[in-house]
Symmetry: C3
């Protein structure tokens, strides 16, 4: 596995990722996928290294994916259980991180419900002149880089299985549909997809669209041009123009809690306006594929039968890609260590 172009110690955000970095991750993930197809799906790449999974916000799915990725690379894993931790005893998060550092953690995978926590820990680790790598596994409504990277790996692999790379998306149209404003997944995907040169179209209810975009919408009716210079990003309040000729649809998970906060009408009405259905697919490019970060609310973001239709749904490939991409990230971040 080649690591020539990798110099990044932490993976916190995709905002400043270069094309070369995306391509290194995609190629390394392809190598990891090859490992996962072998008889013995394990390599000793990170033997003796310790990956601490620090999920201050619980998540079985993402935590299991990182844990499995670490084990496939022969790393030892430590799982931090927030409920039973010193945090309830009043310890600060930085002190918790420093404790895991002192225990010998080589990498920390961090999820927290507040934006910026992984970044703050990374800054502290650098200030202490350690070479611990921090991986953001989702911070508040900010970013979720490994999810966006696995989405990228899933769709570029579809276009060229052996040699997935960013530029394959240059002439594609991708729709991101749903609760944009609260979605760290959307935010990370916007960075990676627009970096590829693809046209990215966001569609969602006005209450669930980022404030920073609304001025653009107000200027142009229901469509806005990109607030990010030189990137092709468009915004819609209706789903139809976003889906028109789209090559990929990324649906976002709807947090049902939003409804109680009156940001949303009923689930039924949401599905009627923004749900992906077989009918709406007719607007898209014939070979359109659907992604969802999971877990899906069947019949809300997407109709139940469409979710299970392998002709359109990439949902299960996304989960599989997740292990390969997380192996790639841990491998790239960890290989300079020992």
């Amino acid at each position: 596995m080649a690591t020539a172009t990798w110099t990044r110690r932490h993976v916190l955000s995709l905002e400043d990722f270069t094309s070369a970095e995306y391509d290194t991750i995609l190629q390394t993930a392809a190598s990891c996928r090859e490992v996962l197809s072998r008889r013995t799906k394990k390599v000793p790449a990170l033997q003796g290294q310790v990956v601490a999974n620090m999920f201050f916000e619980p998540s079985t799915r993402t935590r299991s994916s990182f844990e499995l990725a670490a084990k496939r690379l022969s790393a030892d894993t430590l799982n931090f259980a927030p409920g039973t931790s010193s945090l309830t005893k009043g310890e600060t998060i930085l002190d918790t991180a420093k404790t895991y550092l002192a225990m010998g953690a080589d990498m920390m995978v961090i999820r927290h419900r507040e934006a910026g926590v992984p970044h703050a820990i990374a800054t502290e680790m650098d200030r202490l002149q350690t070479n611990v790598g921090i991986l953001n596994a989702g911070d508040g409504q900010h970013e979720h880089p490994s999810q966006a990277l696995l989405d990228l790996f899933t769709i570029t692999s579809l276009l060229d299985f052996e040699y997935p790379r960013l530029k394959l998306l240059a002439d594609k149209k991708i729709a991101i549909v749903g609760d944009i404003v609260h979605s760290r997944v959307a935010r990370s995907n916007i960075w990676s997809l627009t970096a590829s040169g693809a046209e990215v179209h966001l569609a969602g209810p006005p209450t669930l669209v980022p404030q920073e975009f609304t001025e653009y919408v107000q200027g142009t009716g229901d469509q806005a041009e990109s607030p990010i210079p030189n990137r092709r990003l468009f915004l819609h309040w209706d789903i139809e123009p976003a889906l028109k000729d789209a090559d990929f649809i990324m649906t976002l998970r709807l947090q049902k809690e939003r409804m109680t906060a009156h940001l949303l009408p009923s689930l039924r009405e949401y599905h009627q306006r923004y749900g992906i259905t077989r009918d709406r697919l007719k607007l898209c490019h014939p070979g359109v594929k659907i992604l969802h970060p999971g877990p899906v609310n069947r019949g809300v973001e997407i109709s139940s039968e469409l979710m299970d239709d392998p002709q359109f749904s990439l949902i299960s490939q996304q989960v599989t890609s997740g292990v390969a991409v997380r192996m790639a990230l841990l491998y790239l971040m960890g290989s300079g260590k020992s």
Copy 2:
């Protein structure tokens, strides 16, 4: 370890197990027990394979036993924690299972408080043409095959340590005492023990005996003949006829919650009528042995001093057998995989 006769992908129920299958498991478990007696109690049989322990109903004891069995075979394990899972986010159980499938789980060990869940997952895995193996670790009041198999391994090993096999029980009498109706352990044991040709006698309070048996009881006073054709199964409301000349007594755990549902008199009265005591052992065959799936309510199902008496109690051997039998199951189910 020989696997010649094994073709079963899932282990969900013992209802349709053949003699050859029982004997394959018993012999493989004997080999695993031999591994556990070595200096290094580990074999690389399942290296690189992933066993997902999906205990939707929490259980430290059974989960630890499966986890240890998997680790002794060098498999990687993933533990699913229901409290922190996507299920609380509204994901269906089948979607959860498909997520673990997509992550690369080779086998799933499933416990759920509702009968049929492991079977439903296995059906879905087959429909998707995967070769994932599903192991029922207890579903509602339905079955708990690995518990019945470890009971079988414990008692047949006592009769022939080197070559435990089903037919050793052909002329034995076995009493199963307690809360039959709510016991998945009893249900699985009834299948395996009657398959051996042994005489199986059930004894318990009328409220805790399966409905399907009561017509037999009503026909014959206090004893009923087997509702399963060609199997020697008898039912009693008093414990004495069940214990008479018994070679083995299987006591069942009493769920104290049953009492609040008025299905039971006091614990003291239960112990008086159905508790295993030194006095009651006099009714049995002199070499009688006692089993209990644990955890024991001391002084309820069995007197505390009897539980600790190695002359009679097989309780700790059962736990030890559990690891060997679960190794055997994972080995047999997993060996065709890679």
Copy 3:
């Protein structure tokens, strides 16, 4: 790694530890620290052995340290989760321990909020003629031997990195400050530090000082001589005489719950009377170092900026020492096993 002088099966208390035993642990921990500095921080010393972490009282920090120590020695680990355990089903603690014994645990690391539980389990394991080793990871207000041993390793390593040994402390003065009476850490440290010949000075609020010491205090004003024969142990109600010319200060974690029990004034008042500040350090020996078992209440036991000052604080070294010392304990206890 040399184990010549080690014959102890369990580590429950430091009360009867010999100098030779302390030195064996310190030397073995130094070897383990060397392993942790290698490229691959792992040795196969305990391959195939099972370490059961039975934390009846939750603790992420100590449990992670033991888990990592076990994994560095290639042991398999089992984590017992009290919330989901059979204990809630009424099983006794001894029965739980016997279950893990029967499953094949070679060592059990036990934390419980009641004093004496690890000792009771060890007694039962011996009575059953097993060779399972029990390691007390904190029992009530009684002892926490591995914490005191890591403190000892931290400070003796500072005096002679290559060859840490007990007698290096013979002419040192060590202050232990805070909630002495409720601290298992203090209790274990008193045994090890006084055994070294060091002068140990305790200082804390009268309500937080052990009853057994108060008669000594009453006899001599505000200072008492050692209630342990031949050991140099002194007691103060003010912090100043304890700190005077001290070489090491061990601060204890303040349990905020104590305040609600009216055993303590406000946190502010506590800090004013017993908090370690830059000003108070002037009383000490110029090279004084500060220890704290963690997690620290910043600004209570110790001022926040002092805690982060590497010139004085050994807190992060303590955490690192913890893994090496726990490796040493598991190695010494386990090496005679297989």
